[in-house]
């Protein structure tokens, strides 16, 4: 709620800044155009005064001759001339058109410069707004990640503390003790898995750790990895179908390919209800290798299909979310797939309509 208010505050700030900048620029254009007009009027006034002065010169020099007058006029007021038919002093026509041209040119210059600066300014302010907005979103996602991670850490720790207190202070039967110890092991595993996931993320994110790409039999690696999930699939009574084509080779890093399969399968099991369906398919066609994980679980709204790959992004309200997680799993899947020159994308018909995740890898050229 608070973050939303911050975003709208940024929007209001953007509108205010844009309005002020445009107002200032419009005033500047208006002022400069006006200044050009004032200059023309001023120039015309000077010329008129020069004409009066020239007339006065004639009157104060009764012995004037045409030639003397002309020489004096040229020396003092080069913009003026004598009308040949009437003999009156006039402004040279080329001077008048030069002034008009100058004035129109100035007007054009200020208007075009004004428009250019307006666009530049609006782009700048818009960019500022966009950056600020992005920052708020990232901040929000990071806060969500911290909150989710702290929840993920504290939950097993809480359970461990309760069980330790219980073991220390209660008289328990042997069976009760065994059961508690079993649960404590689960909690420890959960903690270790979280820490491992965070470290792996760090390692993938570290640009110095480029993947060590080697040609690997990913059919074998995938089949082996699936075995680790068997217990959970059975416990959740999930109908699991698995089709892995034999002997698919790809240029990947073993460890990171495991992260892809692990995260996708983990998500499919996590977001599919009891007795749901999950399928894994690894196949190769002429020009690409496809890993497809499909489930009939909670799915996601179509508009979220890009966002779910963003770092720290998690669907739904944090307070009422039932599944554990930190918002890193799919982000890693995409990052790693791209580091293998492949891509990862997702599809869902909508909430509660299941989901399909695809990782595409290039086929090794012979």
């Amino acid at each position: 709620m608070k973050k939303k208010t911050r975003t709208s505050r940024h929007f209001v700030l953007f509108i205010i800044l844009a309005t002020l900048a445009l107002a200032q620029l419009s005033w500047w254009i208006f002022y400069q155009v006006g200044e050009g007009n004032r200059y023309s009027v001023f120039q015309e006034k000077i010329w008129n005064q020069q004409i009066v002065t020239a007339e006065l010169w004639k009157e104060s020099h009764p012995d004037w001759t045409e030639k003397r007058y002309h020489t004096w006029l040229m020396a003092n007021f080069p913009d003026l001339a004598t009308d040949e038919s009437t003999g009156a002093v006039i402004i040279k026509s080329e001077k008048v058109s030069e002034l008009n041209r100058l004035s129109a040119g100035r007007r054009r210059m200020f208007i075009s410069e004004g428009v250019f600066f307006s666009i530049l300014l609006l782009l700048g302010i818009g960019y500022m707004y966009w950056t600020m907005r992005r920052e708020v979103i990232v901040e929000k996602q990071q806060a969500g990640f911290l909150s989710a991670t702290s929840h993920e850490l504290k939950t097993p720790i809480t359970s461990l503390q309760i069980y330790l207190d219980t073991l220390a202070e209660r008289k328990l039967s042997k069976e009760q003790k065994q059961s508690l110890i079993g649960d404590m092991k689960d909690d420890l595993d959960r903690l270790l898995a979280l820490i491992e996931r965070l470290l792996r993320t760090q390692s993938v994110m570290d640009k110095r750790n480029r993947p060590q790409l080697e040609i690997q039999n990913i059919s074998e690696i995938t089949s082996e990895l699936i075995k680790r999930f068997e217990n959970r699939i059975v416990a959740k009574k999930i109908k699991f179908t698995c089709q892995i084509e034999d002997g698919i080779f790809a240029r990947v890093e073993d460890e990171r390919w495991r992260i892809i399969v692990n995260n996708l399968l983990e998500n499919a099991i996590k977001y599919t209800g009891q007795q749901g369906r999950v399928s894994l398919n690894l196949s190769q066609s002429n020009n690409r290798i496809n890993l497809i994980l499909e489930d009939n679980g909670i799915g996601f709204p179509k508009r979220e299909q890009e966002r779910i790959f963003q770092r720290f992004y998690r669907i739904g309200n944090e307070d009422t979310r039932s599944a554990q997680g930190t918002g890193l799993g799919l982000f890693l899947v995409r990052e790693i797939a791209e580091s293998f020159d492949g891509r990862a994308y997702a599809f869902s018909e909508g909430e509660q309509k299941g989901a399909r995740f695809t990782v595409e890898l290039p086929v090794i050229k012979e």
Binding site: T155, I157, Y163, D165, T166, T320, R321
Partner: protein, 236 residues
């Protein structure tokens, strides 16, 4: 009679551990792993106390608490959550939670707090006055219904804390009650509220029940000591 406690918690191991300990202490328990189900269950069959997680599927713990209070149920609620920010704590208590504990916690402390809440509840349930009604200065306070009719003839609803503070003052009519006793009896925990909250509560009670709240006839502040209630028989 053994008290019945609902453990509203979606983490199986935590719920199981709490249940084991509470049952060893002689409480009856029921685990509800979903917020929506918890609302329905509490409304249908209110327990003696609810241990309530905040992050829950279905409906958050805050929504559960709010919904239960909206239904007029005063069942004591103890929040048990990983959310440790002051904002969350205040939110939980303002929504009508009776206490707020953050995870991880020691089982011993949890049981102490549960017992403290139940003791407070038991104390409140004991009738302070005949019919649990208090009459003074033309006001009528009904401690059971959390309602009052003021000397102006208005019917008002009272919060749980307002009723508890009123009851504490009435039980000690004529004597000064210090802030620590109020905190202990009405709130029962130390981090919330500030002394200011007690002052505000007293101001609210005066606004309801005093003809002139600035010159109180019934609810007095004794500077440096605490508060004193004087009923009609003893009022100056």
């Amino acid at each position: 009679m053994t008290e019945h406690i609902y453990i509203v918690e979606d983490e199986e191991n935590i719920a199981k551990g709490i249940r084991l300990n509470l049952e060893a202490e002689g409480f009856r328990t029921e685990i509800i792993p979903n917020g929506k189900d918890a609302i329905a269950r509490i409304i249908k069959k209110p327990p003696d106390l609810v241990l309530l997680d905040v992050m829950l599927p279905g409906a958050s713990g805050f929504e559960v608490c709010d919904s239960v209070r909206q239904h007029g149920l005063r069942v004591p609620i103890l929040f048990l959550t990983v959310r440790e920010s002051e904002d969350d704590r205040v939110k939980g208590l303002e929504l009508g939670g009776d206490d707020y504990m953050t995870k991880p916690f020691s089982v011993r402390e949890l049981i102490q707090r549960i017992r403290a809440i139940l003791r407070r509840e038991q104390w409140y349930q004991q009738t302070a006055t005949p019919d649990n009604l208090l009459l003074f200065g033309g006001n009528e306070v009904n401690f059971t219904a959390y309602k009052a009719i003021t000397f102006r003839g208005e019917e008002i609803s009272l919060t749980q804390k307002e009723c508890m503070l009123m009851k504490l003052l009435v039980e000690n009519e004529g004597n000064v009650i210090d802030r620590d006793t109020i905190l202990d009896k009405v709130w029962g925990y130390d981090r919330y509220p500030s002394s200011r909250t007690i002052d505000n509560l007293i101001l609210r009670l005066r606004k309801y029940f005093e003809v002139s709240p600035r010159e109180p006839r019934y609810i007095h502040t004794i500077y440096g000591a605490g508060y004193r209630f004087t009923g009609d028989s003893t009022a100056a």
